[in-house]
Symmetry: C2
Subunit: 485 residues, 2 copies
C-alpha cells in the first residue's frame, strides 16, 4: 500500500490551533486516554495513530472542522462506534480522526410515515429501541448493535440478520445529510419512497466508507413492529437441505421468514465449549439453521404455519430434528448459538476470516469446493462457516488446527484468502459482502474485480473528493488526486 501523503507536523499544530479557535473546547480531543480508545481497533489488525481528534456535536461544527482540514490539506478519517472489522476507521498518523459519537440524537420518530430521523452518532440499539417505543421496527440488527453507530452502519452498508426480509442499511435509508470533503453540507434529508430528480446521490455515499464525505444524519425506513415472532433451531443434513428449507419456509409462510441463519456443527460446538452455548437437541448434526418467522398481525396462526413447515421439512428429509422456542428466554438461547460464534472463535484460537457472498443457490457448491481446497492446503484446519444463508452471505471462517501456534497459523491468512477468493469469484460472488473494504481489502479488491470497475471507482472518488482528503488509502485503494496529477 502506498504511504499517505506526508503532512508536516507544523501543519498539524497550525490546524489544531485553528480548530480550537473555531470550535467549542469539547470538540477537540487531545487527552491521551480518550484518544487511545479512538485509536484501538477491534481485531488489533491495525495500529491507530493520531495526535488529536475532533468530535463535533453538530453538523455545523463538523462543517467548520472539515473546511479547516480542507484548507490545510490535511486528510480526515471519519469514525462511528469504532466496531468495524476492516480497519475503515483507523487513523494511520497522517490524518485528523473525526469521531461522530457526540452527534447522537434521535431527532424524531414518525409512526404514520414509518420513518425516523437520527444523527450519525446514534447507537444502533438506541435507534431500535426508539422505534419499538412507537410500535415500529427498525430491522437492522447485527452483533455490534450495542455500540456501533448508524452513521457507520450507513457508511459501510451494514447487513446483519434481517437482510433477507428488509434489506441492508442501504435499503433502510431514505434520506441523508452529508458533509462534503470541503466542509459544505448536502441536505438530502427527504423522507421519500419515490424521488427521481437526478443521480441517486445518497447511494454514492451509502457504503462508501467515508471516502467521499461524512454521513451526519439520516431518515430511516421503519416497519410495523412484529406482534408475534417464532424461532426454531433445526438440525440439517447439509447446506443443500438449508436451501430447500428456506424455499419451503418462504412459500408456506407467505414470505414471512425474517431470518435464516446457517451454522456448521464445528461453529455450534465451539459456542457450546467456549461461549456458554447450550445445545438444544438430543443429537448433533452436520449443520444447523436458526429460522425465524414474524408478523405484525396480532392473533395470527404463525405457530401452526411453522409446525407445518417443520413437518414438511421432516417428510422431505430436509430436517433431522428441530426445536421451536416456547419462551423469550428459550429464543435468546437458540439465537446465542448463532450470535456468539465470533466470540467463540476468538476463544478457540486463531481465526482466518472471509466475508463472502455468492448467489443463494450456489452456497452449497461454494462451501464444498472452498472447504476442500483449504483442507488440501492445510490438513487439520477447522472450517467454521456460518452466516446469513437467506441472502447468500457466508462468513466462511477457519479456526486453527489443534495444537498449532496461533501466530504461525495467522501467517497463512493471505495464502488462504488467495485460495478462497477465486472460488467465490468463480461463482460470480463478492469477497466483501457486508463488512466492507477498509484497509484490510483496499489493495486486493482491485485484483478481484474487472479493471473497468476499478477505473469507475477511481473516477467517482476523484469527482467527489478531488483533493483526495477523505479516508485516504482505504475503500478504493490509492487514487492519484487531481491535485497530485
Amino acid at each position: 500500500m502506498t504511504a499517505l501523503p506526508l503532512i508536516d507536523p507544523q501543519t498539524f499544530e497550525t490546524l489544531k490551533d485553528a480548530l480550537r479557535a473555531a470550535l467549542p473546547e469539547a470538540a477537540v480531543i487531545t487527552n491521551p486516554d480518550r484518544l487511545a480508545a479512538l485509536l484501538a481497533e477491534e481485531r488489533a489488525l491495525f495500529e491507530g495513530n493520531a495526535t488529536f481528534a475532533v468530535a463535533p456535536a453538530t453538523t455545523e461544527e463538523l462543517s467548520i472542522a472539515a473546511r479547516l482540514c480542507h484548507a490545510h490539506g490535511v486528510p480526515m478519517v471519519p469514525q462511528g462506534g469504532n466496531t468495524g472489522l476492516v480497519g475503515g476507521a483507523v487513523a494511520k498518523g497522517g490524518e485528523v480522526l473525526i469521531s461522530m459519537t457526540r452527534m447522537n440524537r434521535i431527532r424524531a420518530v414518525d409512526p404514520v410515515n414509518y420513518t425516523m430521523t437520527v444523527e450519525a452518532g446514534a447507537v444502533l440499539a438506541d435507534i431500535q429501541n426508539a422505534a419499538a417505543a412507537e410500535g415500529c421496527l427498525f430491522p437492522l440488527s447485527l452483533g455490534a448493535e450495542g455500540s456501533c453507530t448508524i452513521g457507520g452502519n450507513i457508511a459501510s452498508n451494514a447487513g446483519g440478520i434481517g437482510v433477507l426480509k428488509y434489506g441492508n442499511a442501504r435499503e433502510l435509508t431514505l434520506g441523508l445529510e452529508v458533509v462534503l470533503p470541503d466542509g459544505r453540507i448536502w441536505n438530502g434529508m427527504r423522507p421519500l419512497l419515490k424521488d427521481n430528480s437526478g443521480f441517486a446521490l445518497k447511494h454514492l455515499f451509502i457504503g462508501s466508507e467515508g471516502s467521499v464525505g461524512f454521513v451526519t444524519a439520516a431518515i430511516l425506513k421503519l416497519f410495523p413492529a412484529p406482534a408475534e415472532v417464532q424461532t426454531a433451531f433445526c438440525a440439517l443434513p447439509s447446506p443443500e437441505a438449508a436451501l430447500g428449507l428456506l424455499s419451503l419456509a418462504r412459500r408456506l409462510s407467505g414470505d414471512q421468514v425474517t431470518a435464516f441463519e446457517l451454522l456448521s456443527d464445528f461453529a455450534c460446538g465451539i459456542v457450546c465449549d467456549h461461549a456458554g452455548g447450550v445445545f438444544p437437541l438430543s443429537e448433533r448434526a452436520p449443520w444447523y439453521a436458526v429460522v425465524e418467522l414474524s408478523t405484525s398481525r396480532e392473533g395470527s396462526d404463525l405457530r401452526e404455519v411453522f409446525e407445518t413447515i417443520l413437518e414438511q421439512g421432516f417428510e422431505n428429509g430436509l430436517i433431522e430434528d428441530a426445536v421451536v422456542a416456547e419462551t423469550l428466554d428459550q429464543r435468546d438461547r437458540l439465537w446465542a448459538l448463532r450470535e456468539r460464534t465470533p466470540e467463540a472463535q476468538k476463544r478457540a484460537g486463531g481465526s482466518i476470516k472471509h466475508d463472502i457472498s455468492v448467489p443463494v443457490s450456489d452456497i452449497p457448491a461454494f462451501i464444498a469446493e472452498a472447504t476442500q481446497a483449504v483442507e488440501n492446503y492445510m490438513p487439520g484446519i477447522h472450517p467454521c462457516a456460518f452466516g446469513h444463508v437467506g441472502d447468500g452471505n457466508v462468513h466462511f471462517n477457519f479456526t486453527q488446527p489443534d495444537g498449532m501456534d496461533k501466530q504461525a497459523f495467522l501467517e497463512h491468512w493471505d495464502p488462504i484468502n488467495e485460495i478462497v477468493y477465486p472460488i467465490a469469484m468463480s461463482f460470480n460472488g463478492s469477497i466483501s459482502a457486508e463488512h466492507g473494504v477498509g484497509l484490510l481489502k483496499a489493495d486486493e479488491i482491485s485484483a478481484y474485480r474487472p479493471e473497468i470497475e476499478t477505473e469507475l471507482n477511481h473516477r467517482l472518488k476523484a469527482a467527489l473528493d478531488p483533493a483526495g482528503l477523505m479516508n485516504p488509502g482505504k475503500f478504493v485503494g490509492n487514487v492519484k488526486s487531481q491535485n497530485q496529477s
Copy 2:
C-alpha cells in the same frame, strides 16, 4: 435550453457508413416508416428528429456502435419501448437514436435464487409472465407494461403500483450490464443481495435516464408468486381517512398490503364517463381507494383479515362503503377504475400533470393546499388527483375547465407547475417522483433542488461521460463537457 452541439451533416454520413460496415444490416435503420415510429413521442410534447437509428441485437453490437459514435464525437440517445412521459428517449436531430428493442431475450429464470436474467429490450409484461411461469413474481407493474422495456424501467427507476411492498425498479435490480459512453462494457451482472466492494455503481446507472451509459442487461429480484389476492374498492371521506386505512391495513394484515391507490371522485367519474369504468358502489364519495392484500401462502385467511380491516375502517369512520372483488373479472373491473385514469384524462380534454411525491403523512395537507392554490389561479379547473398513496406519490393532475379551449388551457402548464412545485418542495417533496426528468424537467429541476446537488450531479455526469455524448440536454440539464471547457 441550450442547443445541442451542432454536428456536421457529413459527420453523420461518415458515421452511418462506418456503422453499416461494422454491424449486420438489420442494425442500422433508415426506413422512414420504421424511423417515424421511433421518433413519435407518447404525449406529442416533443418532436423527434433523426436521419437514421441503430438497433443492435447484442451487447457486442451496441459496444461497436457506441465506440464508433464516440470516435466521431456524435451524441447518442438510448430508447426502450418509447413509452416515457418526459421525453427522455426523444432524439432532437443532433444525435444517433439507439433502439434497444432487439435485445429482448429473457436469458434465465432461477426460482431457487429468486432471480431472473433479462436483456434491456425485454418487454415488462413478458418478464412478468416468464416469472409467473416458474411460480415467481416480478412485482414491477405500471400502465405501459405491455410495451415498455425493462431497460427503460431501470434507466428511469420506474415505480408503479407495487412500490409500497416491493420497491421501485432500483430495489428490484440486483445486477447490471452497461455499455459505457466510449463503448466499453461494464459487467456488473452479480446476482448478489450483499456486495460491498466499491461504490454502488449500479445505483449510478439505475435512474440516470441513459445519461451516463446504456443498460444492456440486468439480473432482477423475484418473489414467491402470490397464491391469494384480495382487492377492495373503498369509498372514503378524505385523504386523511386513506392514511388511517392504510395504517390499519398494514398493521392488521401483517404488512401484506401490496397496493394502496387513491383516486378522487372526479378521476373516478371521468373513467366511468369516458373509459368504460363501472362504478361499483351505490353512492359516490369524495375519494376512493383501491386496496390489495396478497400472500404467497395457500389456504390463508386473507379474506377474513380483509373483512376485519374493513369492519374496523367503518367503525372508525375511515370508510363510507366498500366492495371486495369476488372474481378475477370483478377484480379487473375495480382496478380499471384506477388504471384507466390517464386514458380518461386524455378523452376529457386538456390535462396539466404533475408527478409529485411527499412524505406519506403529508399527502392530505399537500393535496388541500395545492388544490386551493390552483383553484384560486383558475376557477373551474378540475383537480384530478390519483396515485400511489402508499409510497407518497400523487399524480396531481388537472383537467381543463368545462368549455375552455384545450390549447388555451395548456398554455397555463408552466404557471400551474410554478404554483404546485413550491408547495411540494415546502413539504420536503419531489417534483419528479417516478416519471423522471427527461427533456420535460431538465431545466426546471435545478431550480427546485439545492445548488450543491446540481453541482454534484454535474460532477458525476462529467466523471462518467467526459465527452458529454450520452443523451445530452436531458436529466442533469446542460453540462459543459470536459472537451468544451
